[in-house]
Subunit: 292 residues, 2 copies
Amino acid sequence: MKLALLGCGLLGGSLAAAWRQSGRAAHVTGFDVVPQRAHRALELGIIERAAPTVADAVADADCIVLATPVGSMGSLLSELQRHARNEAVITDVGSTKVEVIAQAQAALGDTFGRFVPAHPIAGGALPGIEHASADLFRGCWVITTPQPQTHADAVGLVETNWAACGANIERMSAHEHDRIFAAVSHLPHLLAFALVHLVASQPDGERKLRFAGAGFRDFTRIAASDPVMWRDIALANRGALSLELAQFRTQLEELQRAVDAADAVALERLFAQASQVRRAQTFRATSNDHDV
Amino acid sequence: MKLALLGCGLLGGSLAAAWRQSGRAAHVTGFDVVPQRAHRALELGIIERAAPTVADAVADADCIVLATPVGSMGSLLSELQRHARNEAVITDVGSTKVEVIAQAQAALGDTFGRFVPAHPIAGGALPGIEHASADLFRGCWVITTPQPQTHADAVGLVETNWAACGANIERMSAHEHDRIFAAVSHLPHLLAFALVHLVASQPDGERKLRFAGAGFRDFTRIAASDPVMWRDIALANRGALSLELAQFRTQLEELQRAVDAADAVALERLFAQASQVRRAQTFRATSNDHDV
């Protein structure tokens, strides 16, 4: 299978490496709006060819993967409609699904059925093709959100590719996907960015950050993430994210009341429930956990 | 030096192990309100003797360490006033300093000068003496907040003990200490507890938690912390914590407006500033970082 990779970052590079290692992709052509990234992917042996344009990258591809920030997927899909073979299966790795699906429907029209919306729950604190790894998806979830129009063989191809590199597949509706990840991924990113921004903006912020320990380090690790990627995610999923954020603010209002009233019972009850849930929680392996 | 350890948990056990390994403590007697914990410390070779009462533990000690939740320190200090030798140096490892100092002053009266308030910035996600390690403090900060009345030789003894096990000492005022750790430790704990509590309380909470990835895992690691310990910290430092929480809520109000208005510029600006600060941040080593 000839693969066209659009976006040569951590996730796209890892996907190309993983799909090749599992024998599912035989030849990979890469494109990136920043040409150096595609050249670096070539140097690292992750792609066979760095294409100068999207049109060139996808011309003879059997499968095309969108691995760019979700905000750029709409215009890329329009280019694919013009330049990709009609038989080519198109998929993505975006963190939001409802908006990307709407854009694919608008851009691909009659051939929308070849688009398989997907989201691998993997990543690492360190971005970029340099940190790409064929093992990134081993043991991870990959969520697919096929639509009624999506061709069954296209879904089968994409899910088989992912399963071949050790991922666990789960199908769900795009709306459920966006609600889940608003709560357990997008909101935590927003909170981590907000905390670092707040502390750094305070007059004694530098001194405060100097004495931060392991708790702060882990809590804010995701605040080192790419700002453009997360701006796009926040915008693309703003409906679900807005609801989760509003609920969280209500929760903080209650906590503020409990702190101000020195309400030991309310504080202990909330902390104990959270602690019990968190201690019982297990996570799928993610192999790119660097200490940032 | 004969050491009395009050509270045989992760921090107290690690302190005893570290001070012994560095040759600063020759004999350690331990006490815990849960006798099994002191017996476990004995079995693990971290203490030489498990005392049945506080009075017995401190009777002939040269140095007494309070390593219990901060909410219990007031009554412990009153017991020390009755039972400890007048020459004994008393110190603590509490995460808040202003309230503990006030309690020490009330309890110790004329002998308040022998109390050296201290806070090692170390810990681990896994609590309990089982996870104690003599290396826990290597490369970490230890904050001391001596008062005008604190005896210079008492401060010297405690700081020398900490330096001998590889910690970096920083003196500051108790108010500055409490302000700093409200921002970079106590508030993040509150937020992590609040997020896990919120998600777990939602009708689809279990399903949401099932698909949580590495970002959520790191962000909420501190939500597995001991609820009683953190209830006490939130109460003991509620003045500074309340201020930081209120500022954070204002920050979230702004973010809510930006998300709801799809304000790409505001979102990217905040994310980019936070990301830049966080990527530039370095942390002192902490050796007890388990994957919870």
